[in-house]
């Protein structure tokens, strides 16, 4: 088929007019539903978490009969495909086409950073799951809060635990070569070395690493290896680590995503005994979490982990705020103030926000054990009310550059 230029111009103009002629009912507000937008990576390498995020949110609304604070709720889920550019487009769609009142997500730090300015400009109340440090440190937004943790927030307690209770002296870190991995390892290194330990080797692997063999083979001899990986990478690294006979030689510890429940369900006995740290565990013994995990498991046949848990916590924070303002989401300032003033009791415990919008809450040291035939993260120690600044002075902390590959500098690397 050939299209003449005139036809082409005509059809494009026609489409433009048609879309102008059918505007969404933007102003039918007070009576209409609360519109919640979700940005989740449902395709691509981050799909592992994104799909869980959607399941959790849909389940939360279903449990509440799609009613929060006495108002009907409508959900809009957009797939960011785990890429910043798509995240930006989808955020725009949610805000300008679907007219959402608030956004939950996105998952990855680089997605969140790509849309941060836009969300601030649009004054869109956002409860994020992404962990990028600076979003609640040097570049906070009045419209952004995070009910989970920064990249390094959970690494501090594990570093503390490694130095003081496990008496580790030398540790090797390995993480994905992007901001999340850099920040987590930097935080771990800082707290561990401040407690007298030494990070003797830091390995960063490309996000797409099909074969970890060459990395495993260069791990130096140490008391433990710290996994700062996300998604399925930690799982694949660990298998190679074991095949090279290294698990007998050194302990394995991990950050908040390394042995997430979503990773554990595909592992075997090789994972037993590994210690990780997180603001959540499906094993947390409180009534809210019991109800959540039971319902989640009934639907999916597996335990909720970081991403499902993060969305559930975000929903509980949001619901608390909606109740506080009697469901009047149209007043965005009031909604945001209510979210920031949260004292919500959630599946991870009480969530409060510091003045930068980051959660202050419990962090748990967990150990992989087997219960009822499946692998679980059993909580062995609770660090209460951990802040993103750990025990450091806030002003001093913020004067330093943000954590990176090379900051703070690693002084104890072995050649």
């Amino acid at each position: 088929m050939t299209i003449s230029r005139r036809q082409f111009v005509g059809s494009v103009a026609g489409a433009g007019i048609a879309s102008m002629a059918a505007p969404r009912p933007v102003f039918a507000q007070n009576g209409g539903p609360i519109r919640i937008g979700m940005l989740a990576a449902k395709t691509g390498p981050l799909a592992l978490g994104g799909i869980d995020m959607e399941i959790a949110l849909v389940m939360y609304l279903k449990q509440h009969d799609s009613m929060l604070a006495g108002r009907k709720v409508e959900l809009f889920v957009a797939d960011t495909a785990g890429t910043p550019a798509t995240a930006r487009t989808k955020a725009q769609e949610l805000i300008e086409r679907d007219n959402v009142h608030c956004i939950i997500g996105p998952l990855a730090a680089f997605e969140a950073l790509a849309i941060a300015d836009y969300l601030t400009e649009k004054e869109m109340p956002t409860i994020g799951v992404a962990a990028a440090e600076d979003m609640t440190q040097r570049h906070p937004s009045p419209w952004f809060v995070r009910a989970t943790a920064t990249s390094a927030q959970c690494a501090y307690p594990l570093a503390d635990y490694s130095a003081k209770e496990l008496n580790f002296k030398k540790i090797v870190t390995i993480a994905d070569d992007f901001a999340y991995g850099h920040e987590m390892c930097a935080g771990f290194q800082r707290a561990f070395e401040d407690n007298g330990g030494k990070i003797i080797q830091k390995i960063f692997t490309p996000l797409a690493t099909p074969d970890y063999g060459s990395y495993v083979a260069q791990v130096k001899s140490a008391d433990a290896i710290f996994l700062g990986t996300a998604g399925s990478n930690g799982f694949r690294f660990l298998r190679q680590f074991i095949e090279y006979g290294l698990k007998e030689k050194m302990a394995v510890i991990g950050g908040m995503t390394a042995l997430d429940e979503s990773v554990l369900r595909n592992m075997g006995d090789e994972a037993l005994g590994i210690l990780t740290t997180s603001w959540y565990s499906a094993e947390l013994d409180n009534p809210l979490n019991k109800a959540f995990t039971t319902a989640f498991r009934a639907q999916t046949k597996y335990d909720p982990g970081y991403y499902a848990g993060g969305v559930w916590v975000s929903c509980q924070v949001l619901e608390g705020a909606l109740k506080a303002i009697n469901g009047k989401v149209e007043d965005k300032k009031a909604l945001m103030a209510a979210i920031r003033g949260s004292n919500a009791d959630t599946v991870r415990g009480i969530v409060k926000f510091d003045e930068f919008g980051n959660a202050v809450g419990n962090v748990y040291i967990r150990k992989v054990t087997r219960r009822d035939g499946r692998l679980v993260n059993t909580v062995i120690k609770t660090y209460p009310d951990v802040s993103q600044f750990w025990t450091y002075d806030k002003a001093e902390f913020l004067k330093n550059p943000v954590y990176s590959r090379d900051y703070p500098p690693a002084k104890n690397l072995e050649p």
Partner: protein, 288 residues
């Protein structure tokens, strides 16, 4: 010393894996002049078939599974070639785009069918214990994988050099028009070669499974590696794919071990150099 030995063995095993991945790609490219961008997806499909089969049926043998997955992927490849690619014979750009589209469809279908989790492919029981090489510990399976690659290289060599089918394929690679003129059914040959290429990728996917695991994005991780190997080694040359695989295995392994920050530069630089200065590759019969 340990570093060099272990990383040397690593390069070998990764090279073996790369050969299983790229020999089919090279075969298809050589005969059909088609950069089959679905190849990574075929490989991933094989891995998923293997992972699911081994998870569902306890005690299933990895080698049998690889064979089965190979045939299954070959069948899918054959259907795709017959139903879609044949219609686009005179439109090479269209063919490449179609294979790219097919790659996306397969990877999304895998995600829908099997979810976003990494699914492990268990290492065979009798190969789980590490082997001691010169006093150093090395995973046995990786050594066996090198054997698999060499065995399949020999089988392919025999097929291409010693059989009638192989002679026809070689004729087609060298001069498609002339082959057709002397009565070789080139169109059917295309289908056979496409099946064969896809099948090797599918079986290779299962064999690579214990190292890689099945995960969304595996296809996109593997496809560039196949491209590099084939461009370096030379298109349509089995020897080229073989040598290219081990050279890239070596470069990748030592590159990531010695200069981890430059992993991708080290990997892609040789490809660019070869393309710029020797476009037919190291052992190629035709220009890329």
């Amino acid at each position: 010393m340990q570093f060099w030995i272990i990383q040397g063995l690593n390069s070998l095993s990764f090279g073996g894996l790369l050969f299983l991945l790229s020999s089919g790609f090279s075969l298809i490219f050589g005969l059909m002049r088609l950069a089959n961008l679905t190849h990574g997806a075929f490989f991933m499909l094989g891995t998923y078939f293997g992972a699911i089969a081994l998870r569902t049926y306890d005690g299933l043998n990895l080698w049998v599974t690889a064979l089965g997955a190979g045939f299954a992927v070959a069948a899918i490849g054959g259907l795709f070639e017959r139903l879609v690619l044949t219609r686009l014979r005179s439109n090479p750009l269209g063919q490449v785009l179609v294979t790219l589209g097919m790659a996306f469809i397969i990877s999304d279908a895998c995600l829908v069918l099997w979810g976003g989790d990494s699914i492990p492919v268990p290492t065979p029981q009798n190969l789980q214990a590490p082997t001691r090489v010169f006093g150093f510990v090395f995973p046995t399976y990786r050594l066996v994988l090198v054997g698999c690659a060499v065995a399949s290289a020999l089988a392919l060599y025999f097929l291409l050099e010693r059989t009638r089918l192989g002679a026809m394929i070689r004729a087609g690679v060298d001069d498609r028009q002339m082959a057709r003129a002397v009565g070789i059914p080139v169109s059917n040959l295309f289908t056979v070669v496409f099946c064969l290429g896809a099948g090797i990728a599918g079986a290779g996917g299962v064999l690579g499974g214990p190292i890689l695991s099945a995960y969304p994005g595996l296809d996109a991780d593997m496809l560039p590696l196949a491209l590099i190997v084939v461009i370096l080694g030379g298109i349509g040359s089995l020897l080229g794919a073989f040598i290219g695989s081990f050279v890239i295995g070596l470069i990748y392994t030592f590159g990531t071990a010695l200069f981890p920050e430059l992993a991708y530069i080290i990997l892609f630089l040789p490809m660019i150099v070869v393309l710029a200065f020797r476009p037919q590759g190291l052992f190629g019969r035709v220009g890329a």
